[in-house]
């Protein structure tokens, strides 16, 4: 299936509202960004004629030419390292790394240069580049194709790390990421690529802000990426059981929106953090720790987290046991000292 077949392509100049998949929204954001700014260039492995293994860059080369969207040799450090040089020379590179595990060869470039060049030069050189990574599991992929590596990036000072959970955020956050003067690690939940939603191209997103995805009064679920639809599903089930569940889409993993998150958890007094990645030393542990610290006086129960296990990602046939699911989150909610309730 190609995105062109979805027939959602819109001219950048005409703000439009349409229902489309997250993949289509990302494709549209890239096309609009290329059109809006002559310095935007998209490159990586298989992003040209093929349109990317997930077809996110579908049609861009045909439409804008090799100068704006092109394939590179197969070398991730090379891709990120040349992007650094292009950014130093005024371009706004948007690179695709094919899967989380295949972003790892570029890790030195990301940590030692992408994250630090702006600081090193006292802002004399900025790094307005975006590294897009199809991220996470839940698609039955074999080893090295389902990892979640947000912790590596979020821990690294100087990097902005975001992950959308809706087509709207996919569009708006990607546009914001490309417009940002700072380097952005843009994590695209593979599992949600084909989930549809409404996209209004005139809506802008502000990096660094969380979004309350559902109101609720008893407990707050804090999630991002593919865990957001899971949290919403949990909220539905819990509602049927009489529990009012609030869902916050953290969205911006770094910087973090303490204001929204703290206010949300204080309002319910209970919280569960959900994420696919192994939980140990993770974004989930960070959220858990800071919520604990900032909401200590308001908590009815310890903040819990439901995450992937601290094991390598499961093979496809065991994936369903590995990933956080509705029951596991409900169990965590159940453990939040409800017996103390009057």
């Amino acid at each position: 299936m190609t995105i062109a077949e979805h027939d959602v392509r819109t001219e950048a100049s005409t703000p439009a509202v349409a229902t489309m998949s997250m993949a289509a929204a990302l494709n549209l954001a890239l096309a609009d960004a290329i059109q809006a700014d002559p310095e935007v260039v998209v490159f990586g492995e298989d992003v040209g004629a093929l349109g990317g293994v997930f077809r996110i860059t579908d049609g861009l080369t045909a439409r804008f030419g090799e100068d704006r969207c092109f394939d590179t040799p197969l070398a991730e450090s090379g891709i990120v390292g040349t992007a650094v040089g292009m950014a130093m020379n005024g371009m706004r590179p948007v690179v695709e790394l094919q899967f989380d595990a295949f972003a790892l060869p570029a890790f030195e470039q990301v940590v030692s240069h992408v994250a630090k060049l702006g600081n090193r030069t006292r802002g004399g050189v900025r790094m307005p580049l975006v590294i897009r990574i199809p991220f996470g599991g839940g698609i039955g992929g074999v080893e090295h194709h389902c990892d979640s590596s947000e912790a590596y990036y979020a821990h690294t000072p100087g990097l902005t790390v975001v992950s959308p959970s809706t087509p709207q955020d996919a569009y708006s956050l990607l546009r914001a990421a490309i417009a940002s003067p700072d380097p952005v690690i843009f994590l695209e939940p593979k599992k949600l690529y084909w989930a549809k939603g409404e996209v209004d191209t005139s809506v802008t997103a502000e990096i660094g802000t969380a979004r309350v995805a559902r109101e609720g009064t008893d407990v707050t679920l804090l999630a991002y990426g593919s865990s957001v639809p899971l949290a919403l599903e949990v909220a539905e089930v819990a509602a049927a059981e009489g529990r009012s569940v609030q869902v916050v889409d953290v969205r911006s993993l770094s910087p973090f929106d303490d204001e929204t998150v703290t206010a949300a958890v204080r309002s319910t007094g209970r919280a569960v953090v959900i994420a696919e990645a192994p939980g140990y030393v993770s974004v989930a542990s960070e959220i858990q720790a800071r919520v604990f610290e900032r909401c200590f006086e308001y908590l009815e129960a310890p903040v819990r987290r439901v995450t992937g296990f601290d094991t390598p990602y499961a093979p496809p046939k065991l994936e369903h046991w590995y990933l956080p699911d509705v029951d596991r989150v409900l169990d965590a909610i159940d453990s939040l000292h409800w017996e103390d309730e009057k």
Binding site: D46, G78, G141, E143, T311, P312, H320
Partner: protein
């Protein structure tokens, strides 16, 4: 060795042309008939394995299959060039070589079926797990060969990768370590013209990939990768040189991936059908069949016997893959480290509790 002796020939070595005719070569001898017949049988089986696996993907029994259809001369050549005590470091595309090395098809396909990340005992078969992260396994091969050399064993290691993988930093580091430590490794690059959709012209501007060898101080050679005779001769020479202390070598085999990258790929997006068609004439199987038939060593009966043998393997593949393996979720925690940490035990107990509470009829399958 003179410096320029490390450069590959201008043309790839070919011993049997696409019509089955023998090409005279003043350096490489045509393998003997028994070897060619054995190779032919391997090609027949290899082709059948590729096609059966692709069929199993269509039937939903395999999650994904990167076929080596068209590249069987490389796959079989590699398996036959190695002694039993040698080691192979393959990639995801090298299932046929892995099977030809003695691994059962059922075990070889565990990764692609999705039961586990690798399904065979590497030590029994002397085959490393098939590597997915490109070029990384080349370094493992070098380290493995280093250890063998230190012990005075005469093990040779053959490390496989594709044209695309030569662009990775690890390719460079592996070639360099191998040359500096003069270890018995042969790097065998299957240049099939594409890295998924990206053509060779986007991977390199060099006269050939084999021209990289001199930059490390090892010999490079190019071979017609659809001519199993040439593959056996060139690889055989490099393996023997490595075995007798001559150090590493780089061999580039020119071949072609006749199908899409995997079943998930759509190769009509990036290559012309005419190009694919042109390679049909260079098929590794047909040319060797023509050669052996013309030489009178292969007749229809023998060919049928080989086909039947291949069918037996295909049947075993169907049997193995149509059966659902009994999977144990505790396996997720068993092999992470030698001893299970308290944290992992705690996580297993959480999962175990969930499993115990899951209605029996669904506990084995997807929730």
């Amino acid at each position: 060795m003179q410096d320029t002796d490390m450069l590959p020939r201008e043309e790839a070595v070919q011993l049997i042309d696409q019509d089955g005719a023998v090409v005279a070569d003043d350096h490489y001898a045509l393998p003997d008939t028994a070897s060619l017949l054995r190779a032919y049988r391997g090609l027949v089986e290899g082709r059948r394995i590729n096609d059966q696996a692709s069929a199993l993907v269509r039937q939903g029994r395999l999650a994904v299959y990167p076929s080596s259809h068209g590249q069987e001369a490389c796959q079989i050549g590699v398996a036959l060039a190695l002694a039993e005590t040698d080691w192979l470091f393959p990639t995801y595309r090298d299932s046929v070589a892995v099977i030809a090395r003695g691994v059962s098809a059922a075990d070889a396909l565990v990764l692609l079926k999705g039961d586990w990340h690798s399904g065979y005992d590497v030590k029994t078969h002397r085959v490393a797990p098939q590597a997915t992260p490109l070029a990384t396994q080349l370094l493992h091969a070098v380290g493995f060969a280093y250890a063998a050399k230190q012990r005075g064993e005469d093990t040779v290691v053959v490390a496989l990768c594709g044209d695309g993988a030569t662009s990775e930093g690890d390719f460079h580091e592996a070639m360099n370590f191998a040359a500096v430590f003069h270890v018995p490794v042969v790097f065998f690059v299957q240049n099939n013209g594409f890295a998924i959709s990206v053509p060779l012209s986007r991977q390199t501007a060099a006269p050939s990939l084999a021209h990289k060898a001199i930059g490390y101080g090892m010999p490079g050679q190019r071979v017609d990768g659809n001519d199993v005779a040439a593959v056996l001769a060139v690889l055989g020479e490099a393996v023997e040189r490595a075995r007798t202390g001559g150090g590493p070598a780089l061999i580039e085999a020119h071949t072609y991936r006749m199908q899409a990258h995997t079943n998930a790929d759509d190769d009509t997006r990036y290559r012309e059908r005419a190009e694919v068609q042109a390679w049909v004439a260079r098929d590794p199987l047909t040319r060797l069949r023509a050669h052996l038939t013309a030489s009178g060593v292969l007749d229809e009966a023998l060919d049928a016997e080989y086909a039947a043998g291949a069918e037996t393997i295909a049947q075993a593949m169907r049997d193995a893959l149509n059966a659902d393996a009994e999977l144990d979720p505790e396996d997720l925690f068993r092999f992470v480290t030698a001893a299970r940490s308290p944290q992992l035990e705690e996580q297993w107990q959480l999962l175990r509790g969930e499993i115990d509470r899951t209605p029996a009829e669904t506990s084995g399958g997807a929730r």
